[in-house]
């Protein structure tokens, strides 16, 4: 099966990356940082909302307004944090956590 790719334009020029290689995207005041499974990072000029339109897949989830994680690399969900398989953690509020658990098919309890 052909892997879905997007072409990003970063400070290091244009680069084609596979969507499933993206671990997470985080928005800052100037651009959005992407971390890939191979350990590389890219800083894009686009905002996270713009980038998420290109990603258009159920595999990605907003754990906060400025952080988008790839659920294919989700390791665990804790009381107020999610852990990715690169050991990176993200804070998550209770409402988003319930939505996340629904998304990944887990039973939701208050």
């Amino acid at each position: 099966m052909k892997k879905e790719t997007i072409t990003i334009s970063s400070s290091q020029g244009k680069k084609k990356i596979q969507k499933d290689q993206i671990l997470f995207c985080k928005q800052y005041l100037v651009g959005t940082l992407i971390e890939l499974t191979d350990g590389n990072h890219y800083l894009m000029k686009e905002k996270l909302d713009e980038l998420s339109q290109f990603l258009q897949t159920d595999a990605f989830f907003f754990v906060s307004n400025r952080e988008l994680v790839n659920l294919e690399h989700l390791e665990a969900v804790f009381s107020d944090q999610v852990l990715l398989n690169n050991q990176k953690t993200f804070r998550i509020n209770p409402i988003r956590k319930m939505a996340l658990l629904r998304r990944i098919g887990q039973e939701v309890s208050l």
Partner: protein
Amino acid sequence: MLYRQRYEELSKQEDANTEERLLSHVSHRVRTPLNSVIGFSKLLMSGDVSRARTQEFAERIMDSGYQVLQYFQNLIDLSELESGMIKVKPSRISLNQLLTGIVGSYRDRLGTDRSIDLYLMNNEKDLTVFTDEYVLERVVNNVIELLRSHIDEGLVTIEYEVLNKERMSMEIRGIRSSEVNGHNASNSSESEEYDYFTWKAIQQLIGLINGKAACRSDDHEVIYTIVFPCELSTR
């Protein structure tokens, strides 16, 4: 000697409160992290702290310790530079190895709940450069410290590029997570004094290896550019 020199410089600005300002600066930069070490150690010794908080407090103690260490290292560096005691000792170093080490060390310092994310960017190709490892490491460490005091919360990226066979450029960029508010730490007089000392250390250290450092900033980001000579080979 260093304090006297700084005192004389500030005296030229006809600042009547120079001595108080200088003492206040030294006091702030040493007493604040030491009080943090003592305070958090006391809390840990009380035994009434959850496991998660224990980790956080230990990380704060370590970061404060490093802050004091870095501050004194700058004072020693500046004194030794003035007396000509620091000699350039170039050797072949892996740039990725050096920068990855610095990034890893900072991540450990900042702990798990850090407000600053720190990344080495284009590390696909490793470069071996012929330069003074100690000087370069001190310069990068100082720039990161300055960025931490500037941006409070956000992203620090380290990126390098080869300008030609003899020179390369390193860009260390601090990007804020949110708009600067009126309580930004970098506006305080203690922070300005700290910036002065650190910037002076950066300029003098990079000058040792015939390099130059420059800084530009706006409301969103602060960018330090270091250009230095080196002999290159790609691994």
